[in-house]
């Protein structure tokens, strides 16, 4: 893995100066187009008294208002499209079970760019035309399955659209019989597959698997290491958003020191989610993306809610495109408890560092008689010896309690639950249950 392959080296190794020129040109033409074609942006720019002719460099982008998820919901279904519907050739949507979903339209050229961006991400991960790629992702309104599919075909790999509806057992059969070399899935589904492989006593080396790609959920380095050990392969992270392009915004190369952003298609900014001001270079903050090539559904300064940082240093792989740190938290799943803010992923990290627990957990916030309580349901792993002994469990409980107390200054009640009793494939939002504001004083 010494020589990194690139899908479009000319762009992926572009000098910062040339990239800036390209970004300015594309930013200006995108802004001119959205101002002419999207009522939302015309109103927004006018009310902010934005003079597009004055937007002369990338920093001036800060003068523009943000686009939020809420704005996109309000425009349901087609109000944010910048081209007539007859020019749209594909429509995707977010799930939005409680709210109105966000609808995303792609023109033919958007699809082409998406496919290319996905192909770049896959190539950076190390996938070639020799690979057999099994995509264990939903092929429905979400775009991820399709994006990986298009990108992998573009590279010339053999693609198995296994989808998520196939049972885990069937996935493993496919993997064995079709000689799958690359598995693309969410971390939680991958960990289910890994568990099933262990259960079926299939030796990982008996498979042809050599590489895995994660997308979708957030996860910690510890989860990655755990899955890597179980399946004996490397896992590469990718970053995408259904609202913009997924996959294709960014992806890791074999050096795995951050995800290369396809900056010729997106301008990335990092802001402080509280003050909304740009953070110092290299600091962590919320990722804000502006699309500069999209025709159907262009977004200006879209607040992704994902916390990351940017690194402009060229990568040892030769790419000059900026790298974003792996997203481990969202700006909006910050839990505030008795004045202390913490992320669920921090709890996960602690649980993973303690032997005998599994990364499956649930955080429950409640209020009883005006006092807020925090309890954490933790699955115990059945591999720990002496599971039935109260003393062992008590030691474990106090260990977790103390670690959380020292690390986060939180007093949490730890509740052990049976292995595999918590939902796994469910949305990560269900990891946190907040009942503090439900009809109680």
């Amino acid at each position: 893995m010494s020589q990194t392959q690139m899908y479009k080296a000319q762009i992926e190794t572009i000098s910062r100066e040339d990239l800036t020129q390209l970004q300015i040109e594309r930013m200006q033409s995108t802004l001119n187009r959205v101002y002419r074609n999207v009522a939302f942006y015309r109103t927004a720019f006018d009310s902010y008294r934005v003079n597009l002719e004055r937007l002369k460099d990338l920093d001036r982008l800060r003068e523009l208002p943000f686009t939020t998820r809420e704005d996109l919901r309000k425009s349901y279904p087609y109000n944010m499209f910048a081209v007539p519907l007859r020019d749209i050739v594909r429509i995707h949507s977010t799930s939005g079970t409680t709210d109105r979903p966000i609808v995303i339209g792609y023109t033919r050229s958007d699809l082409r760019n998406w496919t290319e961006c996905a192909a770049r991400v896959l190539t950076a991960a190390g996938i070639t035309e020799q690979d057999v790629v099994q995509i264990a992702l939903d092929f429905n309104l979400f775009s991820e399955g399709f994006g990986f599919h298009q990108g992998a075909e573009q590279i010339g790999a053999s693609v198995i659209p296994a989808s998520l509806t196939t049972s885990v057992k069937k996935q493993i059969v496919l993997m064995k019989d079709f000689k799958t070399s690359v598995l693309i899935s969410t971390p939680s589904h991958t960990s289910n597959i890994a568990a099933e492989i262990e259960k079926l006593q299939v030796h990982p080396e008996g498979l042809h698997l050599r590489l895995g790609l994660f997308c979708g959920d957030r996860w910690t380095e510890a989860v990655r290491r755990q899955i890597e050990q179980r399946l004996r392969i490397l896992f590469i992270d990718t970053y995408g958003l259904t609202e913009i392009m997924s996959p294709g915004i960014a992806g890791e190369c074999s050096f795995r020191q951050g995800l290369h952003i396809n900056e010729d298609h997106f301008i990335a900014e990092i802001i402080d989610p509280k003050t909304l001001q740009p953070v110092e270079a290299g600091q962590e903050g919320e990722l804000v993306l502006t699309t500069i090539t999209k025709e159907g559904f262009p977004l200006i300064r879209y607040r992704t809610g994902d916390m990351t940082s940017l690194n402009l240093q060229p990568c040892p792989c030769g790419r000059t495109l900026a790298r974003m740190a792996r997203v481990t938290a969202r700006s909006d799943d910050l839990i505030l408890f008795n004045g202390i803010g913490f992320y669920p992923s921090q709890i996960e990290k602690i649980l993973l560092s303690i032997e005998g627990t599994s990364p499956h957990y649930q955080i429950i916030l409640d209020r009883k008689d005006g006092i807020d309580t925090l309890s954490i349901k933790v699955e115990i792993s059945d591999s720990i010896p002496g599971l039935d002994e109260v003393r062992v469990l008590e030691t474990l409980r106090s260990q977790i309690y103390r670690r959380i107390k020292t690390a986060l200054d939180l007093e949490a009640r730890i509740v052990f639950v049976e292995p595999k009793s918590l939902h796994r494939e469910t949305d990560s939002r269900q990891r946190v249950i907040d009942r503090r504001l439900e009809n109680k004083g």
């Binding site: 300015i24 040109e25 200006q28 033409s29 001119n32 002719e53 002369k56 007859r86 090539t293 025709e295």
Partner: protein, 244 residues
């Protein structure tokens, strides 16, 4: 080769270009498309030094050329073929061509100039045939070839052309564009302004669409050919072209 950032220009109180940014790389052919009055010619005149920019940067071969005179820019290697040819009709074809080389005159360059003349003749055979004829007696298409030939006589690094197909017969357009393609193959960098989007996109690597002084679309020629907006506005989507 050429890099333009936030260019603003106009005539008197008229603001024509409102913050235009674009670039042309070495060896590339780039087209600027747009309707009448979009600011295409203003853009070219500003690059060539005929108009002074009000704002913004023009960087040509690594040097800022914002307020330089047209002849300095020709010396630096930027040659322009103006719209409507503007050949000297009372002079012969050869005299017209030699005028194009005025920045290179000098004892040491005679050989070189003669060489360039030979190249121009081999590019446009008709000019060799009629080198003693008065330019005013040439047909429109031949005059266009003469104008291109004259620009080439300065030995340019960047050839800027303003509507080379304007007013020419379809067959002549084909000849002109064949010549342009030949020039591109020889490594000449070309900036082309056209209303005839189909012809321009066939030869250009990339293109920008200018609308009321602002760039609204940019991309490779391939992308623009398939862009529905461009198809409707500039390619006459439902119609078959007669020059294909």
């Amino acid at each position: 080769m050429l890099k333009i950032l936030n260019l603003e220009a106009g005539y008197g109180p008229l603001r024509i270009l409102k913050g235009v940014s674009l670039h042309v790389k070495q060896g590339e052919a780039v087209a600027i498309l747009g309707a009448n009055g979009a600011g295409k010619t203003t853009l070219l005149k500003t690059i060539a030094g005929i108009l002074k920019p009000r704002c913004g940067d023009i960087v040509f071969r690594g040097q800022k050329i914002n307020s330089q005179s047209p002849e300095k820019i020709v010396e630096k290697g930027g040659a322009m073929v103006p719209e409507g040819r503007h050949v000297f009709s009372a002079l012969t074809v050869k005299e017209n061509l030699m005028l194009g080389a005025y920045t290179r005159y000098g004892k040491n360059n005679r050989e070189e100039v003669a060489q360039t003349l030979e190249q121009v003749y081999s590019l446009f055979g008709i000019l060799r045939e009629r080198h003693l004829q008065l330019a005013g007696t040439l047909s429109g298409g031949q005059q266009q070839m003469l104008a291109i030939g004259r620009a080439l006589m300065s030995g340019p690094k960047l050839l800027m052309m303003d509507e080379p197909s304007l007013g020419a017969a379809p067959l002549v357009i084909r000849d002109i564009y064949q010549a342009v393609e030949g020039l591109k193959r020889n490594g000449l960098t070309i900036l082309l302004i056209e209303q005839n989007a189909r012809a321009a996109l066939a030869v250009a690597d990339r293109a920008y669409v200018l609308e009321t002084g602002q760039i609204v679309v940019e991309g490779t020629s391939e992308e623009l050919r398939h862009n529905p907006e461009v198809q409707r506005a500039y390619l006459g989507k439902e119609y078959q072209s007669i020059d294909e």
